[in-house]
């Protein structure tokens, strides 16, 4: 068997059509631009004597129509390629494009289901439903959902493992056959080629989506919690606290991001324990936020406080202690107690040694390198969030409903969290989308400089970095992750734009 062609059996028919459509589009675009500079305008509607409106197409309108149909033609060709890839039997007929789109089958199904359901029920879905009235927002949402679904279904989509090495496939071009694939039970092709170590570029890109889409949104969420917890009191109360926090925020903002990353994300800093101290502060703020959120609202309902707020906060505190300090209070207390009862016995020493090596029951085991990456990204993002929140609070606190709450005798935290925050949600949601994109770019930057990431990791940034050394000779390894990162960030930006437009319409 030979290496795959890009477009498989459909190529000979569809490629000329697509090429013609692209040529028509660009020709029409240039002609339209020139006519625009020459002062020609689209035709005005003509009102007929019988009050109907008709158009007489001028040259400008013809170019515009040509552009529109060319875009439709390209989209139709892409759809046929995807369908052909899914429906045709045999990899030869599918080609690389068809093969890739066949691998993405779960994603296509998921996208169709989500879009059909959302458009069907869009009137009942609030702001989310309104997104489907907006083309830009819909495209952005589609791109983001594409990558989220890819991350979810990564093991089914990927053809190989992210670190499976086939030595004979080093730097092989897209569509190459894997030798002895059937015997070893592998997928028979490297759809997008192999990288410098002989790993499958396509599978690494797919698993990279998983890495990026777990860290970026969570880090952004933490940055928001920190920014909101500090920004609300700073904006609402003002005074010394405001001055101090604003100064610190400006300090962090004045720090060039790249310098901060290079100083913070090093093995030596991890060894010195700096990330743990930073995590201790940054992760505590969200817990304070959640406790205050409950307490300010349900202060007069001891039942809720006792049975909901306190257990949740305690559970989060346990998680916090387990994650940041690898410390489990229950184990510590029981071992100390048993050790105390057995003073002088070997049991006591044994208790104390097990205590040190015992993994906490609740707590996410995070390796030091990942923790510092996470902390650094949260640290860089939260001052900006703080500024946005503070600005919004300064604006909202002069509103009548805030004055009404003050007259009712509500406490300051209730007003901040339950009167001001819900009314600031629009801009915050929009900024959240933008910021996930920005965080993705930051994570990519870290990966690009090889900071704090495992070299084996399929993270997009580090894959681009690995590929750039042989870039001019073998361009195929860094290109898929680069395009993936760009499309995800573009999707998030378009989504934010659509959300902003729709929320402004209210």
């Amino acid at each position: 068997m030979e290496a795959l062609t890009w477009s498989g059996s459909l190529g000979p028919f569809l490629n000329p059509v697509m090429l013609a459509a692209v040529v028509v589009f660009f020709a029409a675009f240039v002609i339209n631009l020139l006519m625009g500079f020459a002062g020609m305008r689209p035709a005005d509607p003509i009102v007929n004597p019988d009050h109907t409106i008709s158009y007489r197409m001028g040259p400008v309108d013809i170019t515009l129509a040509a552009m529109k149909y060319a875009v439709f033609a390209v989209l139709a060709c892409i759809a046929i390629f995807i369908l052909g890839g899914i429906l045709q039997p045999g990899m030869e007929a599918k080609g690389i494009i068809g093969g890739v789109s066949a691998q993405f089958l779960p994603v296509w199904i998921g996208l169709v289901v989500i879009f059909v359901l959302s458009i069907r029920y869009k009137r009942r879905l609030g702001l989310y439903g309104k997104l489907f009235d907006n083309l830009v927002g819909m495209i952005g949402f589609g791109l983001v959902m594409f990558w989220i679904l890819t991350a979810i279904f990564a093991p089914t989509i990927a053809t190989h493992g992210p670190i499976d090495v086939v030595a004979s496939m080093r730097n092989d071009p897209p569509g190459s056959m894997v030798a002895n694939a059937a015997a070893d039970g592998h997928f028979a092709y490297y759809l997008l080629g192999g990288d410098a170590l002989g790993r499958d570029v396509f599978s690494r890109m797919i698993f990279g989506a998983r890495e990026v889409l777990t860290i970026a949104p969570v880090a952004t969420l933490f940055a928001f919690m920190v920014g909101i917890t500090l920004g609300l009191p700073a904006g609402y109360m003002g005074g010394r606290f405001d001055t101090l926090i604003t100064f610190v925020a400006n300090l962090v903002l004045a720090f060039p991001v790249i310098l901060l990353f290079y100083l913070l994300v090093t093995p030596e800093i991890v060894e010195a324990g700096v990330p743990v101290y930073m995590a201790a502060v940054l992760f505590l703020l969200p817990i304070i936020f959640i406790w205050v959120l409950f307490y300010s609202r349900y202060r007069n309902q001891p039942g809720v406080i006792k049975w909901v707020a306190v257990p949740i906060t305690l559970a989060l505190l346990m998680l916090y202690l387990g994650t940041v300090f690898e410390f489990d209070p229950f184990v510590w207390l029981t071992t100390s107690f048993i050790g105390y009862l057995n003073q002088g016995n070997p049991v006591s020493d044994w208790m104390l040694t097990t205590r040190e090596s015992y993994d906490p029951l609740v707590g996410i085991p995070i390796d030091g390198n990942l923790l510092i990456v996470f902390v650094a990204v949260v640290f860089v993002n939260s001052p900006t969030v703080f500024r946005i929140v503070r600005g919004l609070v300064l604006d909202i606190r002069t509103r009548d409903y805030v004055a009404a709450a003050q007259t009712r005798g509500e406490g300051p935290w209730y007003i901040m969290l339950w009167e001001i925050l819900p009314n600031a949600r629009g801009p915050l949601i929009v900024d959240f989308c933008l910021r996930i994109g920005y965080t993705t770019i930051l994570l990519g930057t870290l990966g690009f400089f090889g900071l704090g990431v495992d070299p084996e990791s399929p993270n997009w940034g580090s894959t681009i970095n690995e590929g750039r050394r042989l870039l001019t000779i073998y361009p195929h390894p860094p290109l898929p992750p680069a395009i993936a990162l760009m499309s995800l960030v573009l999707g998030l930006n378009l989504l934010a734009d659509g959300l902003r437009e729709e929320s402004l319409k209210d």
């Binding site: 625009g36 830009v136 100064f247 400006n250 300090l251 004045a254 720090f255 060039p256 991001v257 790249i258 310098l259 290079y262 100083l263 913070l264 090093t266 093995p267 030596e268 800093i269 060894e271 010195a272 700096v274 994109g437 770019i441 990519g444 930057t445 690009f448 400089f449 940034g461 681009i464 970095n465 590929g467 750039r468 870039l471 001019t472 000779i473 073998y474 361009p475 195929h476 860094p478 290109l479 680069a482 395009i483 990162l485 760009m486 960030v489 573009l490 998030l492 930006n493 378009l494 734009d497």
Partner: protein
């Protein structure tokens, strides 16, 4: 105004002190110093030898004192070896200990020695800054006019087809970080096996093997279009979108103002409205954005200089950080922090100057 500038300068000084102290603290953490001792001395030193090495070079004293020495407000350390030879912070290998100055720090203009290249830091940073200056200059010369043009064209008729096309372009450009656009540019324009170069070479339209050069190393001596276009375009592209969007927003706001409507009703042509009435007012907001964009470009400069092998300031920063070259890194951070703070100051002053409605006590 004078008081305002004075107060801003005070805050700036305080910020610079805090930031350099943070950098000093992070570079002088115990594991970093141990790494320094092992790279400078012997990789197989025992812990006791490491401590002695650090003692002999004055690294083992309190952090604040050493920060003071580096600043030049605390007298530099001296040490008399058992054989009577005097060494010290301010005493170079060839200097006479008796004549050496007591203070030698940043305030005295002494930025120290780079431990890796064994050259005075000021020499290293100075040359590199000039190289980066050229990169920034060209990037700005490309980015600012392009971004302003896009923003103004998009904002003058909000919601039109032109506006939507240009806005999509600017969103796409903010979504393309330098390490993505740089890689794509190199593949498309500077690769001998992919993109347009093999085709052009086959047609005989270009002399070399590639259209543009994928490495800007030769631009350090001699800048040409072929070796400098890609790095400049890469930096400019990412910053362009943001400025263009801000300009568009500002222009769209101005176009809805009362005086524009008045001009329209008087019968002023659309071209004159845009050029004479709207433009000047619409450019106030982008001015601040452009100034504040400079520090953001620093990250881009570091990425682009690494990607295109251009040994400028960003490249030096990366080298200094990865080798833990403490004094070089400190000077780099001073430069970076000063750039950030100065641009903030200029943007504040410029904003007040450009917009007479704003009065700051």
């Amino acid at each position: 105004m004078g008081l305002f500038i004075l107060r801003r300068l005070g805050v700036m000084l305080l910020t610079a002190l805090c930031l350099t102290f943070v950098v000093f603290f992070l570079t002088n953490l115990a594991p970093n110093l141990e790494k320094l001792a092992k790279t400078q001395g012997n990789a197989r030193m025992s812990d006791a030898e490491v401590t002695r090495w650090l003692d002999n070079r004055g690294y083992s004293r309190p952090l604040v004192v050493r920060y003071g020495e580096w600043l030049g407000v605390v007298p530099g350390w001296t040490r008399e070896a058992p054989d009577g030879a005097v060494t010290g912070r301010c005493i170079g290998p060839a200097d006479d200990p008796a004549e050496a100055p007591t203070f030698c720090g940043v305030l005295q203009g002494d930025f120290g020695y780079s431990t890796v290249s064994a050259e005075p830091v000021s020499d290293v940073v100075g040359g590199r800054l000039a190289l980066t200056g050229w990169l920034m200059l060209y990037a700005f010369a490309l980015m600012v006019p392009a971004a302003l043009a896009i923003g103004i064209l998009a904002g003058m008729r909000e919601g039109s087809r032109l506006d939507r096309t240009l806005s999509t372009f600017s969103i796409a450009s903010t979504a393309t970080p330098e390490y993505v656009s740089g890689v794509i540019f190199i593949i498309l324009l500077a690769s001998s096996t992919a993109g347009v170069s093999p085709w052009l070479a086959e047609m005989g339209w270009i002399e070399g093997r590639t259209l543009f050069l994928g490495s800007a190393r030769s631009a350090m001596e001699n800048i040409t279009f072929w070796n400098f276009a890609l790095p400049v375009a890469t930096i400019a592209l990412y910053g362009m979108g943001y400025i263009a969007r801000m300009t568009r927003a500002s222009m769209a706001e101005v176009m809805t103002a009362q005086y524009i409507r008045t001009a329209r009703l008087k019968g002023v042509s659309f071209r004159n409205i845009v050029l004479k009435h709207a433009l000047r007012n619409a450019l106030i907001a982008p001015f601040t954005v452009i100034m504040l964009q400079i520090p953001w470009l620093l990250t881009g400069v570091v990425i682009v200089e690494t990607l295109f092998n251009y040994n400028g300031f960003g490249w030096t920063l990366v080298q200094a950080a990865s080798n833990n070259d403490i004094e070089l890194l400190l000077s780099c951070s001073i430069v970076a922090v000063l750039v950030v703070l100065l641009t903030q100051l200029i943007s504040d002053i410029g904003y007040v100057y450009l917009n007479p409605r704003i009065r700051i006590s």
